[in-house]
């Protein structure tokens, strides 16, 4: 039974992990992540890689939407910028993948800055619509832009290479993605212990008050857009190495909705929420596939999988907003509280 932890210094109160139990659990999680590919089959490693990509992108969107309160429906578009950057660098220049990924992040961040410019004048719903506009304009550029973007055919690229070895299969890519994802999640968690992160939270809570308190709104809103797009760009680069074909159709508007849904379902404005949301939203279609395979009494149930998936996707967004607006992170907190005070229920 543990009701709470005593913090005796500021450093303790600010620490990411405050109890030994948390440290042990984190070490166990880390060990599980390292050992996972040796016990899972190809398909599960494939899914794990997809989840890792989605976690990076969702964490980025969470910085913008969950922590700064600027709703964006352009996350997939920023990912496409990253994916195209990586594909072009890999094909034309041939720089090592880690440089490509970082450059993808910076190019995406630059695009995010441009898209974020209206954010001082418009906000809320209007900003969300403006980001939809940005994603359509980017899609048009990729489909009809200069020839080196590959047009509607898109670009096919070689696998990432490390010390002369191709990183092509999910098993190898997992070792590239897992540390990257862990790094970006830890970086995001640390961001909100700094001045910048706290400024973001102040802007989310009430932007006019934040301005009165001396936070330059445009600077921090743009910074938030840039950071979020940086994450999206890196995730897009990972996506490009994973699928190795980048087309304008790879990042539709519904993919942006997917990330916003993951942020909401996971719990806005929590680091854990973005992780849980990304895992949940990526795995739901898989669980549906398994569930439908048992529904043999319905004729051609597998053929109807795609519409069912669309319905469940929408129903999840609605259901969480209606019944669990704090998302999975809140459910997790409730479970934890239950075990903390265990014999004394409620």
């Amino acid at each position: 039974m543990r009701i709470g932890a005593v913090h005796q210094t500021y450093a303790q109160a600010e620490a990411l992990l405050d109890t030994n139990f948390q440290r042990v659990m984190l070490a166990a999680l880390f060990a599980a992540l390292v050992l996972f590919p040796f016990f899972a089959d190809q398909y599960w490693i494939y899914l794990a890689c997809l989840v890792l990509i989605h976690i990076v992108s969702t964490t980025g969107l969470n910085i913008l939407t969950g922590y700064t309160g600027l709703v964006s429906l352009g996350q997939a578009a920023f990912m496409s910028v990253g994916a195209y950057t990586v594909a072009i660098l890999e094909i034309r220049v041939g720089t090592p993948f880690i440089i490509n990924l970082i450059l993808a992040g910076f190019v995406s961040a630059a695009v995010g800055l441009v898209v974020g410019v209206p954010s001082l004048r418009v906000k809320g719903l209007y900003l969300a619509i403006a980001t939809i506009a940005a994603s359509f304009i980017l899609h048009f550029l990729f489909a009809n832009g200069p020839a080196f973007l590959g047009g509607t055919q898109g670009l096919s690229m070689p696998p990432a290479r490390l010390f002369g070895y191709d990183l092509a299969r999910p098993f190898q890519l997992y070792w590239l993605f897992m540390p990257l994802t862990a790094l970006s999640v830890v970086a995001a968690a640390n961001l909100f212990r700094t001045r910048i992160g706290r400024a973001f939270i102040a802007i989310r809570d009430r932007d006019i008050s934040a301005e009165v308190l001396g936070i330059p709104l445009l600077k921090y809103k743009l910074l938030s857009f840039a950071l979020s797009s940086f994450y999206a760009g890196v995730a897009g680069g990972m996506w490009a190495y994973f699928f190795r074909v980048v087309t304008p159709e790879s990042f539709p508007l519904i993919y942006s909705v997917f990330f916003l849904a993951a942020v909401i379902v996971g719990g806005m404005g929590t680091i854990l929420g973005a992780i849980l949301g990304a895992i949940f939203m990526t795995m739901v279609p898989e669980f549906l596939k398994i569930a439908v395979s048992y529904l043999t009494f319905i004729p051609n149930a597998t053929a109807q999988l795609s519409p069912i998936r669309t319905i469940v996707f929408g129903a999840l967004i609605i259901g969480f907003l209606l019944f669990e607006p704090q998302g999975l992170a809140e459910i997790w907190r409730r479970v934890r509280r239950f075990f903390h005070i265990w014999p004394f229920k409620k």
Binding site: V71, P118, R121, V122, G124, L125, Y126, A128, I129, A130, I132, A133, A134, F136, I137, F140, A143, N144, R206, I208, S209, V212, I254, V257, L260, A261, I264, Q304, S306, P307, I308, R309, T310, I311, V312, F313, G314, A315, L316, I317, I318, L321, L322, P325
Partner: protein, 292 residues
């Protein structure tokens, strides 16, 4: 430059612009009364078009009966959505309610694909096929009819909301919900009515759009063009929706003819971005004043 050809394109643009404006009414009504931006209008329209399709094709009902039933069905759809999904979200942030409608649009698309499949279909042809000429300019009869129908419906909406008590209640609610409530206006009923009327408007434009271009589960994309029109015009202004709807209809027709179909959405969204930068609340929208 062929001026007659240009004139014909502008006319057909006005025709599709009238449809944008008619659907825009659905956005504006809902936003005015409930401060909800309903992204699912395009999908409500699609569901109504399929409803009409089912009644004329599968049940073989006469067209006039099917139209009446579809419009009633659209009203019921709007009312049910308001009661089940929007009413519980009262007082939540506008973004949360917006996301509920985003989820709703996904559910509606899945629903239609589940029952009717994802292949496009054509509605039975009930619009006249005799070509219409204004001077010597040719207009497709379908577009001419839908322009007339949309104009009549919009005029009817405007008259009703000027004169009918419910229209006054709607405008009062739009101005200040709390004050309207304390003056004895049944605000929840106004919410329901605005969603029901919006559903009926969506059903009407669904039938028209479906009979011009055929129906498919992706026809809800039309809602995005409407959304742009409504935002450029100002989200809470019916007049704005009319002007911007017609203007964007004409621009899309011109762009589609002279530059190519793939430029249509691009130009529409560029107009949106420029409009947002110059007038964030649209051409005719109410400027929200914020203070601490």
């Amino acid at each position: 430059m062929d001026w007659l050809f240009l004139f014909e394109i502008v006319l057909s643009g006005l025709g599709s612009g009238a449809l944008l404006a008619l659907t825009g009414i659905a956005f504006v009504l809902i936003y005015k009364a409930t401060k909800v931006l309903n992204l699912a209008v395009g999908e409500m329209l699609m569901l109504c078009a399929y409803f009409f399709f089912g009644m004329t094709a599968a049940l073989a009902l006469p067209v006039w009966l099917a139209i009446i039933l579809t419009v009633i069905g659209g009203g019921i759809l709007g009312g049910v959505i308001e009661r089940i999904l929007i009413r519980p979200m009262l007082g939540e942030s506008p973004i949360s309610v917006f996301m509920v409608t985003v989820g709703l649009s996904s559910v509606l698309i899945g629903f239609v694909e589940f029952f009717w499949g994802s292949d496009p279909a054509t509605l039975p042809n009930f619009l006249p096929s005799k070509p219409v000429f204004i001077g010597s300019a040719y207009i497709s009869p379908k577009i001419a009819v839908s322009f007339v129908v949309a104009t009549v419906l919009i005029a009817a909406f405007l008259v009703i909301f000027r004169t009918w008590r419910g229209g006054v209640a709607l405008r009062a609610t739009a101005t200040d919900q709390g004050a309207a409530f304390s003056c004895g206006i049944n605000v929840p009923a106004v919410f329901s009515v605005s969603w029901i009327v919006a559903g009926m408007a969506a059903a009407g434009s669904g039938i028209l759009i479906g009979s011009i271009g055929g129906i498919s589960p992706t026809m809800g994309v039309f809602g995005l063009s409407v959304l742009v029109a409504v935002i450029v015009g100002g989200l809470d202004s019916i007049a704005g929706a009319l002007v911007a709807g017609l203007a964007i209809g004409v621009v899309e027709a011109l762009v589609g003819t002279y530059l190519g179909g793939e430029f249509k959405l691009l130009v529409t969204f560029c107009i949106l971005v420029v409009a947002l930068m110059i007038r964030p609340y649209g051409l005719f929208g109410t400027v929200e004043i914020e203070r601490l």
